[in-house]
Symmetry: C2
Subunit: 614 residues, 2 copies
């Protein structure tokens, strides 16, 4: 009995202990679960809260949030003061605030009447900017130049949405995929902003079963990269792409793309550029020759790609220490990638290298280069091309020729590392220590369309493609440096200013009459303005005409007008003493047209002059 009791007791104690242990374990587990759950919920609620914060602010905004946001705008305003304000490219920062508006963060009005109102930062998101009116004139001129170039080559244009299904973009950009902007999951499909125009183009070609197309596309793309605003490296930026899709003989479309690069940059007044060119087949052949395993090729290629900004020693170290290549392999690669010169020179050197000619991949590439040499000669663009074995380009999808156009401004400053150290945080703009980078770039990608066709369950159809992308912001930053010309850009197109002169007690100001005259000019396609005022004195009207950059005034004189007459007068200091010509109202339109065509007779306007670098 005692034994039994004892046993029972032991048993119970054992049970109890084991149960206690289980309970304890479960407590730990629940605690971990709860903690994890708490973290998840915190994330979720942060975004939810942010979504509704402004709306709820007038109701019951907590002081804490108010304080945080207030101090945030304080910091921003400090930055405003510290930063050198200019009207140049970086307008993403708040504009210069006149002294009298440099008020404390609770202006009288705000703090007394609307204490609960949330403070808002008046700025654009990081890496984006507003384009001002005169900058837009230059940008539009770049677009017009490039799109007429593309049309000259038989291009058609298409447009695709700014965001794509996320699965379309996945797996196309290698390590850079982390830079893709995702849209919030608000129910429905998962989408992301496009990262380039090439992948949407390939999706378009595959989706519509297109066999061949020459298309151009000028549109914004998005990358969450470190911005360098004054160097034209931004998170929202334009690409101008021209691509030729279809099965053609080797190098015919490729050489046309190279010609387009030359024609485009020349048309934009850029003459000191060169096109660095390489061939993925040759590069990959070289990696094989040097003993890089197939699975390592793209990673080693990425290392080589850094050679434009990084010394060989650093790149070599990355290959051997981080990417597991032998010293010997790295040295061999080093010998090849230092080669650069004209197509002819490098082609000769490689043709004499038995390692190259015995490697089927490299041999293929080399033969294509031989064909290319003939075509670039026909197009007369040899002298712009530099065969550079260190050019690798980051994107995964290239399969043949690759190229980049660079100018002197493309490279970072020589003391970049030093300058970089001076910049305090990662959040700062990188303009001080980076270059403009390549101003155009592209290559051949023969498998991308088929990748989409196959992945969507369509019949496998290989649509080879080759294309180029011009970087508009980078080109803009170069063109904008031609400052004297840029300063003369007039943002309006206004040609004619309609005025009324008169006085005395019965003077009405002729407002409705000015409206009617202006309207007649508008109806005939003539850019016309007038002062939005019942009565305006002549000085104010001349000032407004000058501000609008008008060269012609149409004047309703108090007495002349009642007799059915108008006065047409040239504007500008050289015509100060010229009273103009009195005409019949019915002759208004032909007279104005005649005078404007005389004014624009030898018409290279200032934008064209700026673009051509005159």
């Amino acid at each position: 009995m005692v034994l039994y009791v004892y046993c029972l007791d032991i048993f119970n104690v054992y049970t109890c202990l084991s149960l206690v242990f289980i309970v304890f374990r479960l407590y730990i587990l629940s605690f971990l679960y709860s903690f994890f759950l708490y973290q998840m919920l915190k994330r979720a609620s942060t975004s939810l809260f942010a979504k509704h914060s402004f709306v709820s602010s007038s109701l019951s905004q907590s002081n804490r949030v108010h304080r945080i946001i207030t101090s945030r705008s304080l910091i921003i305003n400090n930055t405003t003061i510290k930063r050198k304000m200019s009207t140049t490219t970086d307008t993403s920062a708040p504009a210069a605030v006149p002294a009298e508006t440099q008020q404390p963060q609770h202006p009288k009005h705000g703090s007394s009447k609307k204490k609960s109102k949330l403070q808002v930062s008046l700025k654009t998101p990081k890496g984006t900017k507003d384009w001002s009116d005169s900058d837009m004139v230059i940008r539009e001129a770049i677009f017009t130049t490039l799109s007429s170039l593309f049309k000259r080559h038989g291009g058609v244009t298409i447009d695709t949405p700014v965001f794509e299904l996320r699965e379309i973009l996945a797996g196309k950009y290698g390590e850079d995929s982390k830079l893709i902007y995702n849209l919030e999951d608000q129910g429905g499909e998962l989408t992301s902003l496009r990262y380039d125009l090439t992948v949407p183009f390939a999706r378009f070609v595959a989706m519509n079963n297109i066999q061949n197309i020459k298309r151009f596309h000028i549109a914004k793309v998005y990358r969450r990269d470190q911005p360098a605003m004054t160097k034209g490296r931004m998170r929202e930026f334009y690409q101008c792409d021209f691509d030729i899709a279809g099965t053609y003989e080797h190098m015919i479309p490729d050489s046309e793309i190279l010609s387009i690069v030359v024609e485009g940059l020349t048309a934009l007044g850029i003459n000191d550029f060169k096109i660095k060119l390489n061939h993925r087949k040759i590069l990959d052949g070289i990696f094989q020759i040097c003993g890089v395993k197939d699975e390592d090729v793209r990673r080693i290629s990425s290392s080589v790609d850094k050679l434009d900004k990084t010394p060989w020693e650093v790149v070599k170290k990355e290959m051997t220490e981080e990417k597991g290549q032998s010293e010997e392999t790295a040295n061999k690669i080093g010998e090849y990638v230092k080669l650069n010169g004209s197509l002819k020179e490098i082609h000769s050197i490689l043709s004499l290298d038995e390692n190259i000619t015995n490697n089927p991949l490299a041999k293929d590439g080399l033969d294509e280069i031989a064909t290319l040499m003939e075509f670039t000669k026909s197009f007369g663009i040899d002298r712009y091309i530099s065969f550079d074995l260190s050019l690798a380009r980051g994107l995964d999808y290239y399969t043949g020729l690759i190229y980049e156009a660079v100018t002197a401004a493309s490279a970072p400053p020589t003391n970049a590392q030093e300058l970089k150290k001076k910049v305090k945080s990662e959040d700062e703009d990188a303009s001080a220590y980076v270059g403009v980078g390549s101003i155009a770039g592209g290559g051949r990608y023969d498998n991308l369309v088929n990748m989409f066709a196959e992945a969507s369950g369509k019949k496998s159809t290989k649509i080879p493609c080759v294309g180029v992308s011009f970087g508009v912001e980078r080109l803009f930053s170069l063109i904008k440096q031609r400052t004297e010309a840029a300063a003369a850009i007039k943002p309006t197109a206004t040609q004619v200013f309609v005025m009324a002169f008169g006085g005395g007690k019965d003077w009405t100001g002729y407002l409705p009459e000015r409206m009617t005259i202006t309207k007649e000019l508008w109806n005939n396609g003539i850019e016309t303005e007038y002062v939005y005022k019942t009565k305006a004195n002549p000085r104010k009207q001349f000032d407004a005409a000058e501000k609008a950059g008008c060269q012609l005034a149409v004047i309703l004189g108090k007495e002349e007008y009642v007799e059915g007459k108008l006065r047409v007068k040239r504007l500008g200091p050289e015509f100060a003493d010229d009273d103009g010509e009195v005409i019949d109202i019915k002759d208004l339109v032909p007279t104005v047209q005649q005078k404007l065509s005389e004014i624009h007779k030898d018409g290279v306007n200032e934008v064209a002059r700026l673009l051509r670098g005159l």
Copy 2:
């Protein structure tokens, strides 16, 4: 002892039971936690998974996911087959697939070789579409028409980023704020896609302390609304905005905006439109007169706004039952909002109404209408305007004149309710039962800029604004209906086709020579193409020229070319028997220029014809 044992036993049993109960409770709790956690993780991982799915798919894609996505594309393909395929506006659906590619979802290649590869839906996100080449020609023509109109009125253009800080958009769109697209919080700022161009414009004006500007902006905006693709109601769509900011005398800028609406629509060949116009001050005065409390005014205004698609009885019910207005108030409102007619008619009626003339708000508005009447007469645009007291417009920020341009196609079909019932789910496109809606709209918003200035802690500065927004997709859908003309649109600009004719054993095909000739034409700005083939027979070259829509051929004849001669020939059936003209190579460019200028002499091209509705 026994008692003790018994007690111990009881105690133990009790302990055990309670412990078991605790354990059980904890199990339940952990189960609930786990389930909740699983749901959270599932959501999170769906997006994570989607992000990496393509990359990981080749490694270890689970069959289940594979099946889900496969069946999803199956459904999509069903839709493809069921839908009437056309080359009209809705290209968001996968394009018509030729019979031979209508394969099962596991094509041989895909299923055998790459079984684990994730299936991708080749489509654009809901409510968005690709723009094909010939549609782009029409869209570009619309843009050119409107931007030259805006320039004619002294407008300058600016550009703002596609996304704004979320706080900038918050609180500007009333109930429609739920339609804003948010970007994911990927670290950094919270941002959203712009919902219109007006709020970013006001932010720009406030940020840069601009006192006056006439700006236009043609850009995409984003709304997560129910799409009706063939009616031009989309989630991604263009707006063409013109706004005048600055302090001017009453109604001068407002009447110019109305003139712009008339000029813009007329220039696009739309003549059967009318501009519905109202004044927020009059409307709000009427609500006061009818007994609506100040805090209810915007909500009642929203109800009135529905009168263009909803009968009065339904709107009245909403006012009385949902929005707490008395029967009497609703009836009074009903009397006023049914008024519409010319400015003059309605102005006379309201001027005789003592309730109106005694209400300071309504009186103010009525006086402005009197001024407006004078100006619209000067501009000669009276006949397009209909004073419609039922027009309210949804957006919160309007403070004065409001207007909308509508055509016959704007209204929904008369049996809309019936048609709507036939559509199975909310996910379907709404094209069947909605109208095109208003094709342009806008109004005066005098407080928006100041709202930003104050909220950012700047000095309060009132910058009154008035503007209009043209809906490009809706205009496009109307223009596209002029089908015969639309069918003639040629997407390329190519003018000249360079060909080579020859034969025999020693015939090279003159590829490099064709390249050189083509390049000379490109260098002189002439749109030129040639066949990308070493040797191409004449038939193929003529076919390619016809496909590109060329009207002129430059021919390198085998014998002629070696003698320094080229043949220039008109293309088209009427020139079939014409052998063209033999010229010296050095005369190529002037000859081609001369012939092209003859061809385009009386040059109204087909796009212009389409736009003008000829």
